[in-house]
Amino acid sequence: MTVLVLADHDNQSLKPATLSAVTAARQCGDEVHILVAGSRCDAVAAAAANVRGVTRVLMADGPQFADGLPENVAQQVHALGLTGTYSHIVAAATSYGKSILPRAAARLNVGQISEVTKVLSADTFERPIYAGNAIATVQALGAIKVLTIRATNFEAAAIGGAAQIHQVATAADSGRSVFVSRMQVVNARPELTAAPIVVAGGRGLGSGEQFKILEPLADRLGAALGASRAAVDAGFAPNDLQIGQTGKVVAPGLYIAVGISGAIQHLAGMTDSKIIVAINKDPEAPIFSVADYGIVGDLFEVVPQLMAALSLEPVRAD
């Protein structure tokens, strides 16, 4: 059985979540092909060829793929699906994968299993429903199994492969959609979904200005900054920091929740973290029910104390 993985990328580098998709793909079938649809995306194709477990890179290079328009990329996936080569089509559940894959699935007349967290067999998968408050075990029925996978639940495939790169015939531009612009938030911190440590703030921070007290803490720990939906809705933090059912799903080694009460929608996005720390003044806050370590107290006192205590620690080299 051959599995097609859709690579998420920006024409320059492969998104780390794609490496997790390769791992999931290898649990579904024995051979893994990876589609890189982009514009002048040679570097991405080369990076994909270097992923262990990938046996072939399919490169669809053209200006119609420059900005990941789902109309065009799904058309490309559809064309490859029609060849009869693939038992599965897999993508990471990033905003790219989530936009494109259901479109390709419907064109292929099959369903999709979204946000797979475990591959039990080639056709049976686990996925969270109801914001992670229940886990469904589902058996996919279609001739081609189309899956998006939750990257935090699959280890990244190792680097060190040597797959061949094949150019494939490219799907035409749909002519119905145009990319206009992109606003990427630029900062020096690690990407939220790939960071080893996440420091996240909630409504307890009180304002956008006060939210900034988390920045030195995040920087001291080499952590990414995150936020609860309440903090984002209140305008304390930009929406790309949102963690939860409708935001990003994270599973770092250490998650520090500051002033976050722990609504179920938030817990859905972080309970797979290895170690959870909660700092909240309300001892009844649900966040404490998932925390390994908790401090009940005023975050505006605890965070500076935490910084002071950390300043006595050696900075970890890795």
Binding site: P128, V180, M183, Q245
Partner: protein, 249 residues
């Protein structure tokens, strides 16, 4: 311009769900049901476009059991002009719903379909994209802003790491994200008025589309429970624990 807004009836977002003891699913008997919150945002956006004179009519559509009329009433209380229930007693999965909606699009000929980006019960995040595929229409998922001019929709989308803007040629599909708008409060007078608006019930089977499921749910179980943690009295002891016990820093 006509806008179609599909809405789904789901367990209310404030309800703590119960999993049936036999593992067959989530218990929905005697549980408060509501319009899917993302669909509510979609209805609000469509109604605002009509109030701004951009759209002339807003039609809400739901698929499922007859009891789903209540969420269509909610949609009409927000301001949808009329609604259609495609009634079916079988479980409808996203591909089946997309096929039903495609049949409704054929009938209603809207220029724009706005859907919620995902339903908060199955968390699939598929129906809008699938509908776009079946119709061959362009799509913009995770919308945080929609501007209609002439024959196009310019949509700002929330994507990983920021936002992105695309321009779609109408007719098109847009799926609503949280920050597209804040739906208005549904007042009692508006709820009463919505009872006078037309609600048509059509047997889904009469549309002659394939409603077969694309997956079988074998089991629904509780998520793994985390071991209880410890409360600490100082930041210093937290750092010690993180260093020596958890080895997390």
């Amino acid at each position: 311009m006509k806008i179609m807004v599909p809405v789904k009836r789901v367990v209310d977002s404030n309800v703590k769900i119960r999993i049936r003891a036999d593992g067959t699913g989530v218990d929905t008997t005697n549980v408060k049901m509501s319009i899917n919150p993302f669909d509510e945002i979609a209805v609000e956006e469509a109604v605002r476009l009509r109030e701004a004179g951009v759209a002339s009519e807003v039609v809400a559509v739901s698929c499922g059991a007859e009891i789903g009329q209540d969420v269509l009433r909610t949609a009409m209380a927000i301001g949808a002009d009329r609604s259609v229930l495609l009634s079916s007693t079988t479980e409808l999965q996203p591909l089946a719903v997309a096929r039903l909606l495609a049949a409704m699009v054929e009938r209603e000929q809207p220029s724009l379909v706005i859907l919620g980006k995902q339903a908060i019960d199955d968390d699939c995040n598929q129906t809008g994209q699938m509908l776009a595929a079946l119709l061959g229409w362009p799509q913009a998922t995770f919308a945080s802003r929609i501007a209609i001019e002439d024959e196009s929709a310019t949509v700002e989308r929330e994507v990983d790491g920021g936002t992105e803007t695309v321009r779609l040629t109408l007719p098109a599909i847009v799926t609503a994200d949280l920050r597209l708008n804040e739906p208005r409060f549904v007042s009692l007078p508006n709820l009463m008025k919505s009872k006078k608006k037309p609600l048509e019930v059509i047997d889904a089977a009469s549309l002659n589309v394939d409603l077969a499921p694309t997956w079988i749910t074998l089991k629904v179980s509780e998520p793994p429970v985390r071991m209880p943690g410890v409360l600490l009295d100082s930041a210093a002891s937290l750092v010690t624990r993180l260093r020596d016990e958890a080895r997390a820093i």
